[in-house]
Symmetry: C2
Amino acid sequence: MAYDFTSLTNLLAPKTVAVVGASANPIRIGGRPISSMLKAGFTGTILPVNPKRDEIQGLPCYASVSDLPTDPDAAIVAVPAVDVLPVIEDLGQKGCRCVTLFSAGFAELGEEGRLMQERLIETVDRHGMRLLGPNTLGAFNALNGYYGTFSSSLDSGYPIPGNIGIASQSGAYGTHLFAVARNRGLGASVLVATGNEADITVGDAIGWMAQSDEVEVICAYLEGFNKPDRLLEALELARDARKPVFVMKVGRSTLGAAAAQSHTATLTGDDAVADAVLAEYGAVRVDQTEDMLDFAYCAHQRVYPANNTMGFITISGGGGIVASDEADAIGLSMPPMPEDAQKELKELLPISSPVNPLDATAQSINEPSLMEKFTRAALEKGGYSSICGFFTSVGGAPVLVPSVIEALKPIRKEYPDRLMVVCVVAPSDIVKQYEEAGFLVFEDGSRAVRAIHAMGVVGDNFAAAEAAQGAKPVLPSVSLPEDTPDEFQSKALLAAAGITAAPEVAATSKDQAVAAATEIGFPVVMKILSPDILHKSEIGGVRLGIGSAEEVAQAYDALLEAAKTHAPKARVTGVLVAKQLNGGTECFMGVSRDPAFGPVAAFGLGGIFVEILNDVVIRRCPFDEAAAREMILSIKGSPILTGARGREPVDIDALASMLSKLSGFAAAAGPRLKSIDINPVMAMPGSGGAFMLDAVVETDTGKEGGGHGD
Amino acid sequence: MAYDFTSLTNLLAPKTVAVVGASANPIRIGGRPISSMLKAGFTGTILPVNPKRDEIQGLPCYASVSDLPTDPDAAIVAVPAVDVLPVIEDLGQKGCRCVTLFSAGFAELGEEGRLMQERLIETVDRHGMRLLGPNTLGAFNALNGYYGTFSSSLDSGYPIPGNIGIASQSGAYGTHLFAVARNRGLGASVLVATGNEADITVGDAIGWMAQSDEVEVICAYLEGFNKPDRLLEALELARDARKPVFVMKVGRSTLGAAAAQSHTATLTGDDAVADAVLAEYGAVRVDQTEDMLDFAYCAHQRVYPANNTMGFITISGGGGIVASDEADAIGLSMPPMPEDAQKELKELLPISSPVNPLDATAQSINEPSLMEKFTRAALEKGGYSSICGFFTSVGGAPVLVPSVIEALKPIRKEYPDRLMVVCVVAPSDIVKQYEEAGFLVFEDGSRAVRAIHAMGVVGDNFAAAEAAQGAKPVLPSVSLPEDTPDEFQSKALLAAAGITAAPEVAATSKDQAVAAATEIGFPVVMKILSPDILHKSEIGGVRLGIGSAEEVAQAYDALLEAAKTHAPKARVTGVLVAKQLNGGTECFMGVSRDPAFGPVAAFGLGGIFVEILNDVVIRRCPFDEAAAREMILSIKGSPILTGARGREPVDIDALASMLSKLSGFAAAAGPRLKSIDINPVMAMPGSGGAFMLDAVVETDTGKEGGGHGD
């Protein structure tokens, strides 16, 4: 927790900005930023640099960076790739703090470009500068008129001031988000497009926004995870500041991931890991632009109800059913109104159906005092943290709107902590009237329901983070052997970290065997131990279901006798006494190494559940038992563990403890750990424990440090 | 195939329409239709009926129906519920063919209303009239200016002429759909809101639209299935006419279904049955208004590519990845460009990534001749049936649009059979320019991808219906016993319909037993047969794994001996010789009766797959083996049947045959059949067959005809 995101203030709120490769043509790459800033009234000073001109767009122009009259705190560079390095060097010497590098022709173009990008990084690092790009569309901040971007999206309008910030790896998609937001009337003031991310990443931008006074809602577009530690730190900062982060992490599909790699020079990680990590850090993952902007729109009011419930008041029964279906599909709770409140409303309007959805019929909006009473009842009696009024085109009728708003506006003020949405089919001026009265406005009921649900998810995430003690599990001390361990060594390594194998003792006398069995608990299995007998069962060298001390003694003799009879020359080293695991459920646990986020633990049921249904849950290591329990209960097949159809529940505590310990082991083992498979883990009924029956630990033998080999 | 939907022409294109309960006030229920028709220039004659007036809204008014100067072919009735029946009677006597009944107060209000509604039905039936409503918002047809509706949604604008029709059980939701469509510029000319559906249902409206010259695309909103036979016939007509039907069947969730029942007087059927039946009839089920209208918008061009593939040309790499993710999630194929075509495009524009998505970069749209070449290559070389150009705000820039359209328009004309979509962030006048050039326009890429996919689904549905021979399976002759059959009778009933039980023979001599076993094939199971021995295993009366004739003979003696020893008084009737089914996979098959659609067959794997994962597929009975095979292969656990992870595949042919025969049995058994459970069905590896091991047939004993009891 020490990364300094505030240095991006030089990027987004510079006082003096040099534009190297400045153009007099306001639609050329080197001309657009100047033209945009001049039009928008940038509050700082612009210093154009171009050896061929004395004046550019009405501003004095300088021949070179070294000729600048003052030291710029930021620079925008738009020169051919081959000319970039000396310019950056000059800027460093001139004390510039942050460079936005539009120029393309670096890592995105292959090996030669990658080497040039490395020299670039070396140069900015040497001067302690920050770098946006290369190959970036730039950044802007409408709050001070800074437009360090050549995006043509500004041609159709400047941003609307507001508390939404956009951080995007893709310039074109980032400006697409901005343009759609602006056309919808959303106040997205700040945009950072990170391009090749040689230095500044989407994570950096999120971190800066998390600490800024202006941005309260963060929209991020990611193709891969560069410098994941910074991203996670930024997400934590945002969560602690109660600023929601909505993330489009694209490349879910193989095709999408392949396209992402041809689009940028980053590696698109495994998608399930992305899901797990973003959820862990309380970011809300979205798949579509429309969801992201719907959620950001709702979020701009900063009402995030934990344990969200929705009361849906509708003038169309159908609208209520559509909304109920959507709420059910995504898990938004819609409890019914209390019965006495239902009775009151039914008396008030007999044709209504005031359950939830509350079908108040079209009559309620034609008589706004009725709508007022339904709405008040939903808030007071229903206690819903969110309400949605589905008024469709009736609620958009100019003759009705003033009286509806007059009826509802006082309620909005009385309950500032509730989320209040109306769905109307109406022209923009009427939408604006509802918005000015404090209501969020949607046209489509299903979209409204999804956005209301998302606000609850944000609220739950904030609440969970506040409730968590923040104590990370204590890691064991792990020292991996130099060579890949065999099965016995693997089990021993894990056992040392507290991961329980099925108890077993090698006894060399009858008394020892009886004592061991008594210690382990009945029933036990007994097996002849001999390096010379490979197929124990065939010579009667295995006895199952031994239930008492007496039977142990008998079995001990019988096993020795069997060995003597069937394998007279074998060396017998003793008798193995092991716990017999009857009636357990086979599970599996494993660890793999994600290139971005390190060791990731997985849990699933054995056999077909994993192999055919892919019913597996994963989480970044390490995590505590509570998180492990949540994972275990989240798989689809979990009813098998918790006692479906008359089964006895298995020992979830023991499973959770084992999974958490495994995660600690993996985190402590360091980067040489490649993977772990514990398969099967036998989960016993009741409080019978959970035991690893087989385990493989795979290590990277050829390396010191570094990540996963391939 | 005999239902006459054309009688709805009297509803939607009447020549003379009486308005009973006419009002001079154009915003009252009895005034709105007249006012709307006068404004819209209704092509027919309006005859207001109101005893208190001589003239209404400038038209001569008549005191009663019998005073009308001519016989109306249609009537709109807006009088209190108590006055409705005599008016309907008068209209019948006056030769009226179709009544739209706005009045509420019938079945939706409980028992008394239900009885009134029955008398209403009796009256219209007696006169051979059609009835829309009661409790309906009415119907309209913009193509002839008929507005038999009191919806206030017309206050904000009349429909835009076009080939989309809306059939909705809910008036408010139907007009919500209309208003949203109109505001989007979609031409939805015809709306029928069916209300209580005493006679005319959504199915009737679909049937009429399927046969009309004006409607080509049908949007339907359903809460329940009234008169399901008509609906299915209508869906078939629509499919045969290559008119897509997009259906919002709401009430998926328990909450939604509960709301649907409080909203109308219809029963909301089981949602999975709705899914199966709509899919069977080629209707496309949608969950949201936005999807429905997006799909209808795309469909209005009537391009429905079977085996759809999409080429996605983008100026933003990010836009391409988002689209690829969406396409992958919903199953829209995006094959890559041929390699030689990739090479040519790469030479043309080295910074492009012309795979698929084809990232043509912003340069391609700034030089429209490049965009033209990329688009042409996608169509010619890529051969995609659908293409989508993601141009975002760049493609919405007024300076660029004319040259982009000029470049692309000729291609649109050259390939009339391809679906062509552009995604632009642009004001409506620019959107219109693209549309006039023949392109479908979306702002959001994900929505565009979903709509493109839906057109392919429509195309596949049409193609499948054309390919099907249409021959229904031949049904067996089934005669259910009067009482509920016991297990033995159940199996015998099913066996008579060709459903194979595991082969077994009751032998009364050693020779018979040997012959039976040889006939059945080894290994066999042998059991003592005696009405007096209940627990055969306990007395050694069951022998497994008998592998030869010799062993059969030995086992025969041993079983008789065991009976003599352990149950000397038991009557022994023989020895059962049965096929021993080793290595089979347990499945289950069943039939239940849906209140709307009759017998529905289900198939799943045994055990946890059904019990915990609910991995079951259902289909309306009867169906042929090809459909049964498709069902079997569609369950999530199907890899277990087809040979996942080195298993031997089971006999799918035998399973499909059994499932199809079961569906035939259920269809032939008539309405007294309540349910069938065949559990387990043992599916054997290879071509070893499939055998019912246990079966229960449940019948309704107290009834002749009629549906499911509860």
